[in-house]
Every structure is written in structure tokens, then in C-alpha cells.
Symmetry: C2
Subunit: 229 residues, 2 copies
DNA sequence: CCAAAAGTGTTATCGCTACACCCATGA
DNA sequence: TCATGGGTGTAGCGATAACACTTTTGG
């Protein structure tokens, strides 16, 4: 069967993951010190080669799990990079994914073992190859997307407060939001469940915890209305 | 150098193009009758294999030009498909692009020579492999995107009327729009230049021609405001 | 003069912005 | 009691939707 395509060139395919997390009030990226040539010792995204029995999405999941221990997280392909000399080691086509994860759920041991670290999005070191471009593209995409889809909740713990959520959106959108209006907007969507518990870490009065209600969101979404910040 | 990656598997990579056009009041796709196995005679998107000295974007442009004669059109990568059995002939990873073009600017000879035809978006035939999924994904993307970027103008002739533009948006969004409000909205953006000429094809009174003003749009865009339907 | 499409005007309503204000509590 | 962050109320503005209306012209 494969004779139809004989003579066509073949390529190495890799997958690179831009892994986002959120801590306190900073958006962070999980980066790794590269442990093999080329450019050993430099920082890079998590990556790996596509294996014979895998599709790209599976490879991305494998890579994410390898470095964080997590499964079933928000993980999306966003672009495939194919510049001829993007990797000086060889012609490698790389499919890039971004993931949104809850830092506190990651396997710290695993992260440490693989020389990975959470780095502030505005204190990025030099990255190898075209990895900076990948990061920038992923950032642009989540900045746009977070306005229309409830991405934010992927980055926060199960229980979170409205001020926390607001700080997250401020970190993503890189601008201050009016707290009164943000609160009204979010609550008016009716996709949050208020808990009886308070978080006193950031203030004396304490802020009520909320939970994202996936069921309500799905109803709202299928009935035509839209999440929109 | 390439010894770093020795032992990793290599893959065939193809590029498939979802080519959109607009005629009268219908959104259309350029499809082709496949002239070689497998599934010879079936309909498919325009595609081809990535060549050694190319990057994906160049391959997509090459394919688009081959079938339409056009260069410098709106052409964007949107997803890379890698299901193990997506092509029964061999393991092929396919990067999909969508293009928005002005049908009247295409090279009719070329289209005909390659057995390509413009097919109504709501009268699609069976497509090979996962090409239908590609079409659906591209449609979703342009439906979303056309609300925030002036995509519409890519599909219309240089000179077009407001009612024509409205019909296009109705075809993309698949719903009727109020003509009074649509007109006000579009004109309020001040990105159209009114011409002195009228189009009498669709009415006795005739509708004034307009032109998209890229310069004004860029100003508007960089100054922060947004195109939004 | 009528039908039909192009194009204008009017109004009520909704959502957003900005900002003033009140609340709870630990130090 | 006061500083601090959490949380509420409200007036004004601008955009939108709905729809009634006028204009133009070929048949």
C-alpha cells in the first residue's frame, strides 16, 4: 500500500509543550535545563519525538505526564513549526502544544528530577531554537481565548476566591481590572458555586471560596450564550 | 550533528488546504477529484507532500498556486492531523491550512485542468480520509475569527456593496442579520471607502460600491480598537 | 404606480465603566 | 481604631436590537 507514496521525503517530528501555571499573582512557565546536546545546559520547553504508535496529542500528553505527573489536563495543539533551520541538529518539524495546569497538583519530585523549574512569565531566560516564539504565540492565544472560554479555572486550585481569579486574569491580560465589575461579570454568568469557607491568606476579613461548576457552564454554552470577560 | 537524534522515527508529512470562496450568496469550497490511488475518483481537499527544502507554509502556498494560480492570499495553518490510520495508504501526518480567496481572481484553466470544482458549503460530497473533519474545523475557526478580524474582505472582489458583504457574513455565520444595523456597524468602523459607482445586478436602485481600506484598518487596529461584527 | 431592494431614523434596553461607599477583622 | 482588602450600589454613557420608515428605479 505505502508504495503510492514511495519517493516522498520523511521527517523527524517532535512535540514541544508550553506549560502554564499560576502562583500567587504570577503566570509561570515550566521550563527545563536541557540535558543533552545540542545546546546542553540551556533552557527549553518540554519536548520529545513523536513515536511510531502515537499521534501528536498522545505524545504531548506523554511529555506532560513525564514532567508533571499529571493526566487529563487542558492541553491543546496550537501550531506546527517547520522552519528549515529551526533545530541546528537536524531537520525537525515540531508541533507545539500549550497546557494549563494547577501547579499544586504537580508531582514535585518528578519536576525536580528532570531539572524543570517554574519561571515567571516576565523573567524568562534565553530559550533554545524557536521556543521563545512558541511561548509568545501560546501567550497570544490564551490571551485571546481566555476572554471567550473559561480557561482561567484550569490554572487555579479547585477552590479559589474571586480576588484570586481576578489576579489570574490580570496576569494573563496584563492589565488591572476593576474589582467591582469583574466580580459582577463573573457572578452574573452563574457558573461558580459559592462555598461556606473563607480564605484568609490575603486579608483579615477573608474571601469566600468558590468552585467552577462545569455542569452549569456546559448548559450555558450549549444554550448559545457565551462566557466572556 | 544529526547523530543526536539517530534512531528516532521519521514520517511522511503532507499539507492539505481548505480553500474558501464566495459567490452570489453562497460560501464555497474548492474540491478536487482525486486522480491517483488510494480512493481514486473520490473528492478531496487540495494537498501534497512536504518537500525537502520547504516549510509547511511554503508547501501550502505551492499547492494553492498550483490549483488556483493565486499568490499572496490569506492562508493560515490551523491544525496538524496525526491519527494513526487517517490515510490508509501509509502513516502520513498532515498539516491543514485554510485559504480565503476571491473566486473571480482564480485561473479557471488551471482549476479545470486539475479537476477542481467550487462546491457549495452545504452541498459537500463525501470526502476522503479526515478531510471532512478538516473542513468542519476550518469553518468553526473562520466563524469565530470573522467576528474579530476583517476576514470577509478576502472573499469579495476589490469593489463590493454593503448588501453583498452582509450576505457573505450571513453565509459564514449561518444566520440572518438586520440590514440597518449591519450597515451602521460596518460603516461606523470607518474602514471602507465609498466609490461613486453603483452595482445594479441585484436591484433596480443599485447599491454603492465600497472598497476595504487596509491603511485605515491598520491604524484602527494598532491604536487598540477592534474590528468586531 | 407598484414591488423590491437600498438605505435612514428612532427608541428602548442592556451592559459596561467609573467610582463612591460599606464591611469585617487582625494588629 | 485604623489600615487593608473584600464586597455592594449606582449613575451615566454607549452600543445594540428591533422595527418603522423613506428612497430609487425598472418593469
Amino acid at each position: 500500500m505505502s508504495s503510492f507514496y514511495s519517493g516522498e521525503p520523511k521527517y523527524l517530528i517532535s512535540v514541544d509543550c508550553v506549560i502554564f501555571g499560576f502562583d500567587k499573582d504570577k503566570l509561570k512557565l515550566l521550563l527545563v535545563k536541557r540535558m543533552r546536546p545540542p545546546q546542553e545546559g540551556d533552557w527549553s520547553l518540554m519536548g520529545g519525538f513523536l513515536q511510531k504508535d502515537e499521534q501528536l496529542e498522545q505524545a504531548a500528553q506523554r511529555i506532560l505526564t513525564k514532567w508533571t505527573g499529571l493526566e487529563q489536563v487542558f492541553l491543546e495543539q496550537f501550531y506546527t513549526f517547520s522552519e528549515l533551520d529551526r533545530d541546528p541538529g537536524a531537520r525537525v518539524i515540531s508541533s507545539a502544544f500549550y497546557a494549563l495546569i494547577k501547579i499544586e497538583e504537580t508531582d514535585k519530585e518528578l519536576t525536580k528530577k528532570h531539572n524543570a523549574e517554574w519561571i515567571d512569565i516576565d523573567k524568562l531566560p534565553e530559550l533554545i531554537f524557536d521556543h521563545l516564539r512558541m511561548v509568545q504565540m501560546a501567550l497570544e492565544i490564551i490571551r485571546h481565548k481566555c476572554r471567550f472560554e473559561p480557561l482561567g479555572f484550569e490554572l487555579l486550585p479547585e477552590k479559589f476566591t474571586i480576588p484570586q481569579l481576578q489576579k489570574l486574569y490580570e496576569a494573563i491580560l496584563q492589565r488591572k481590572l476593576d474589582n467591582a465589575n469583574f466580580r459582577k461579570k463573573i457572578l452574573s454568568m452563574k457558573i461558580l458555586k459559592k462555598l461556606d469557607e473563607k480564605d484568609k491568606e490575603f486579608s483579615k476579613r477573608g474571601a469566600f471560596y468558590y468552585q467552577f461548576d462545569q455542569v452549569k457552564y456546559n448548559k450555558l454554552n450549549t444554550s448559545g450564550s457565551l462566557f466572556e470577560i
